[in-house]
Amino acid sequence: MMTNNKSTGSMTLQNVSKIFEQGNNQVRAVDNISLEINGGEFITLLGPSGCGKTTTLRLLAGFEFPTSGVISLDGKNIANQPPNQRPMAMVFQSYALFPHMNVFENVAYGLRLRKMNESEIREAVEIVLHMMNLAGLEKRNPSQLSGGQQQRVALARAMVMKPKVLLFDEPLSNLDAKLRTQMRVEIRHLQQRLGITSVYVTHDQVEAMSLSDRVVVMNKGRIEQVGTPVDIFVRPASLFVADFIGRANFIETKIQERKEQQCLINAFGGDYWVPCAESVTQGDTAYLMIRPEAIEIKPAANGNKNGEIQSTVFLGASVEYEIDANGNHLIAVDTSPRFDQILKENCPVEITFDPNRSYVLPYEDRN
Amino acid sequence: MSKRIVIFVVMATLFTMLAGCAAPVAPTEAPAAQSEAPAQPEATQPPAQNPEPAKVSGKLTVLCTPQEDWCVALTKAFQDETGIETNYVRLSSGESVARLRAGKDNPEFDVWFGGPVDGYEVAKDEGLLEPYASPNAAVIREDLKDVEGYWTGTYVGAFGFCSNKDVLNDLGVDIPDSWDDLLDPKLKGQIAMAHPATSGTAFTAFWTVTTLNNGDIEKAFEYYKKLHNNILQYTKTGSAPGPMAGRGEIAVALIFSHDCVKFQKEGMTSLVTSFPAEGTGYEIGGVGIVKGAQNLDAAKLWVDYVLRADVQEIAATVKSFQLPTNPDAAVPPEAVKLDTINLVDYDFFASADAKKGITERFDVEIAPAPKE
């Protein structure tokens, strides 16, 4: 599924930047990014607002043109190709359904422009409507549809074009939580079935993780890391990524020794061998990143105390503890709590952690 | 879809109706076989009184200064008789000269009809007119036509005061019969006249006052400065003050007496005509061909036409009671006989020479000035 031959819808961005002029200021929305998108993959651009993900998507679509850099589709430079000539279809955050056309007309719009004949259009539209569970709604106007239905019409309209690349601009953010989850699953299944290259933009890391073959984490116009959801979660490339995907505790530490992919560090009064980043070597100061789920606490017997509980929050399926560990503020999550053993505030605890769910990152100035 | 068809049918019907209403200048095709009219001799050779109108075609555009209804009647009658499609635009005398001046290089009009000949003299001096001695001009008195043939008089009218007797009653003022009467402070804001720049009528009045002051323009300006305090508004058209008096908006209108009579006849029964005892002016209404006219032959025909006695009698049918210049034309009983009033010795040449200076100065010094 991830081949790079001629017409699979693979894309490349090389040193692409986009600078906006606002009055006397220049805003670098996208700052010299390079990225390879494989044909048929589902790749998500993830990051906080203002990180440049939407601008990048619009650069791919052709609604913005790069200030510098090259964008290619299947090896061909498309930098000056106008958006309506690119073989891509976009699903918009607000759905952008044409209010003066019914569902059928909306979906048929792009096909009509290709001057296909009526019966072909009818067939194609019916198929895709069926696929999106919209059969029977052809004559309805967008205003008469629910949010989820509108979303699916928007999707149908894009899909029916059989584009080489599908672009998604935060399409689920206007839906309520339950619908969002449902639609997520549908989108993923659809994409896997059809194998169309999809570029998806979102700020929701749960969406990103659940939908993507790979995730591109962006921050301030730059790419922080590209990798599979596992890569990103287990081996984050920077503090930003570590903190953005899931939650993380950071403890400053010193590398005592390095052996292959692991480093020896000392934390909570014990020595641990923890997987660590390539660039960390013996003697470096570094950050130990521990996921809250990886922290184990038990009430401290005398002398074993290395932390104290500051607050306890019972969330039903899990319990969260805020812990003060000799000046370090930690968050620990117990994902299979024993309800009769929930620890209370001010309880002294002994902290250990699972090194296989932790990682050592190079030192960064955290300002 | 059918709704739109209905709409188009309605629209089409509406337009045909509107088009059908275009009656007066409805084009009647000029007779197909035309031979060029024999060129009218430039010299004053008087042939027969009513020569056969030559087969002239095309369109005629008339610059017409008298009252609109007379313009309509005359152009229609001309068109009916000759078959030439005739169009006119009605402009006051001063406006007419300005318009001719504007179109000097490319005149839109063929002939100018009506309005005091002071204006024609100005136009002649500026090279805007074409001389033509119509065979029908032979019967017109010498002092009523231009020696060189640039214009010919078609009517004569005396200038006077047109007052609303009810308003005068309310104000406690007698019917004015002298220029000085107009300066009565009781008439403050109760008099109206036209602006001499646009209107020949007003200019005639001005020159009359000048003449009464032995040609001293300064004295005339002094008079008008005083009169200005009593003026309510300067109208564009010479006869416009008449209906204002007729409706009771002012007490006295300074207009040509034949216009006053016309308004009386049209229903404004409170109006009375009077004349200043010191002497009043008069106008000779002219006709002349515009230099560079597009249809010179038709223009000449027109001049011949309006000098005819029977044509001059058309005026009375539209309540224009000027005195016709053709001695064979019937004089309407409503017309003011010139020998019953005191006329000044009006010098048209002097007035034409002084016109531009006077109107400009009037415009600057008097018209916009604040009242005392």
């Binding site: 044409f98 209010p99 792009g110 | 739109r4 309509v72 839109e108 646009t198």
Partner: protein
Amino acid sequence: MAAVSFNRRVNEFRRIASDWTLLTGLIIVVLFLAVTVIFPLAKMLGVSFTPDAIEYYIRYFSSSVYLGIIWNTVKLGLVVAFLGTAMGFLFAYVQVRVDVPFKKFMNLMALMPIISPPFAVATAAIVLFGRGGLITYKLLGIRYNLYGFTGLSLVLTMSLFTVAYMNLQGMLKALDPSLDEAATNLGASKWDVFRTVTLPMLIPGIASSFLLLFVEAIADLANPLVLGGDYTVLASRVYIAISGEYDIFAGSVLSVILLVPSITVFIIQRYWVSRKSVISVTGKPSGKPTMITNPLVRWGLFALNMLFAILIFMVYATVFVGAFTELFGINYNFTLRHFEFVLFGLGSQAMLDTSKMSLIATPIAGILGMLIAWLVVRKKFTGRGAVDFVSMLGIAVPGTVLGIGYLLAFNNPLKINSVTLLPALAGGTAIAGGTIALILAYVVRSIPAGVRAGVSSLQQIDPSIEEASISLGADNAITFRKIILPLIRPAFLTGLVYSFARSMTSLSAVIFLSTPQAKIMTAQILNEVDAGRFGNAFAYCDILILLVLIVIGILYLVIGTSNGVERDLGVSL
């Protein structure tokens, strides 16, 4: 940096050029505006700064009479702007915030001036309220002098306040009622709320209306000519200079003098005041506005509003009845001769000419207006602000000024080294008898309303709808035709309606351009009013109003409202 932005601009244009329909549209708009707006104005400015003309400046500015005229004009503008805004506010407030009967009637009366010709109100006012007036003299026995400053400002107020009314009504409707509720909750009385919440939020709208009315009032020609009395203003001076003397220097110099306050105020209104509005007029506030309940206030406002509405009604009733009356004021016998005169006499040519030219100008103005609105709102290119500004000059510039510009620019062919670029368009001997210049003048005067309607309409459309169309393969032309146009149809219709009404009733811009082959109804009406033949004038007015209503009706039937974006007529003005 400079190199970067130059490159960027070049790329912008390269992209626009690659979409040939966009390029064509842009070229058409720019060429059109250059020929019909910039060229005539430049020509007029050119004439007014020749050495001959400079003398006039000196003469005018050193003459106390002329300085008085300038002051008169400004004073008239200020007074009318104030009264008009106040009246508009009263009507608007009662419509939106006061629960009283006859609202439809009062609304209708407030809207009448849009379709009525410039002289209707003045002429009717003379016969009703003049020295011999039906109301003032026959009923009340006073000989009231309507001519001059007082009468002029009252009549102008009545004729122009509609713009203020619609503006303010739109703004009042868009005010968020929860603001009032919040204030009340914090202890404010109704009067406090009005004073500290409602009024301040409306200040941009009030200021806007004030400035717009000022511009219209100082540009007005019709009413000063009819009712001015001894109160001379710049517009009437310009008219006398040209039509009485054909003194183009005096005309252009006076035009420039008139142009300065006009453009200044217009710029202030557009680029400063309207930016300060804190009400998003495109928003739909929730809830109903709080209505006035205090009976004293309620019925007091009602009485005042009804008084003015009835006054307006009487004026238009007079226009209607006067057309059938022998001699209104003297002889009230029924007659049809005025209509005969207008329809079958000389009047018919003017009727046909004006209608034809207006009908030709209307769709042109409508389409250009939408095109300009689209280019300005949606597309980014250098000079976008300039295109926007120039398109608005059609109403920022007083009509007489535009008229003179056209006269100077189009009376003669435009030649460069004896190569004719443009043949003469105005004047009786020009192509098509001068109708082209007239039609262009009509178009230029109507474009601004179309642009504004289009802009406010487009701002309501989510830009991603256009992008969706493009991403599905449509180019700009198709997107405009299939997506934008249907959605802005109501605004387009509004623009068309306004164009036609405006063209039919326009006087000051076209009075210098009428020729024997192209007669203008409003100029004919002026002639009739000036000559005192009020019956004919009323008949003309009635026919004109009828024509405008018929065409508006047809437009509504043919184009109609769609399930697109609905806009208030008021906002588009």
